[in-house]
Subunit: 90 residues, 2 copies
DNA sequence: AAAATATTTAACTTTCTGGTTAAATTTCTC
DNA sequence: GAGAAATTTAACCAGAAAGTTAAATATTTT
């Protein structure tokens, strides 16, 4: 956890795209996979990195595994950036 | 350029630390180097990545090369995060 | 113009990353 | 309980990343 794992997770375009897809709402891994040309295994690995960084949560629902965005972790990133920019506001 | 190069640049802790050091004001490469245990060459490479991503500017001053923070690029990151969080405010 | 200083570039090594395919796991359905 | 479906895990590979030391470059000083 911490800022490092968050930034590392966000540095990959596929992972950022996954988060964008989850913005619309939770969905099963398979739905996410179908948005990409890479294998399901590759997407699964990306998901586990996002989960490790706490940017997503997952739950099993029947034989699907549902992924859901957890944007709260991004607060730490916002703070870091604001600090860098001189702490003018919030 | 673009969000990708920014995020990639920010994903390394040494580079984030460099940006933090530059928050206090512009300084020569050598001053930055002295804050780390790694070689000057290594820091120089980090600086070139930050420059490539437009997160810093450099200028020669005598036999020093002065680096300066350019926080404006971070705006794009803020926008991306805010969008992800549901575009509530700004 | 030679020496000293500040920094970058080159060549190289090791470790990490992101992808692949194949096998394992979990749950549902027949 | 066997088979199908959804997903993860394992083993592997190629290319990128981050460090090292040594050589090159640019500038000032003597």
């Amino acid at each position: 956890m911490g800022l490092q794992s968050t930034m590392k997770a966000l540095s990959d375009p596929t992972r950022r795209e996954i988060l964008n897809l989850l913005k619309k709402g939770p969905m099963p891994a398979g739905d996410l996979v179908s948005h990409f040309t890479m294998s399901g295994a590759a997407v699964s690995k990306h998901l586990s990195i996002l989960k490790e960084a706490n940017l997503v949560r997952d739950r099993r629902e029947g034989r699907f595994i549902i992924y859901e965005l957890n944007a709260s972790v991004l607060e730490e990133v916002l703070l870091w950036i604001r600090d860098l920019k001189g702490e003018k506001d919030s």
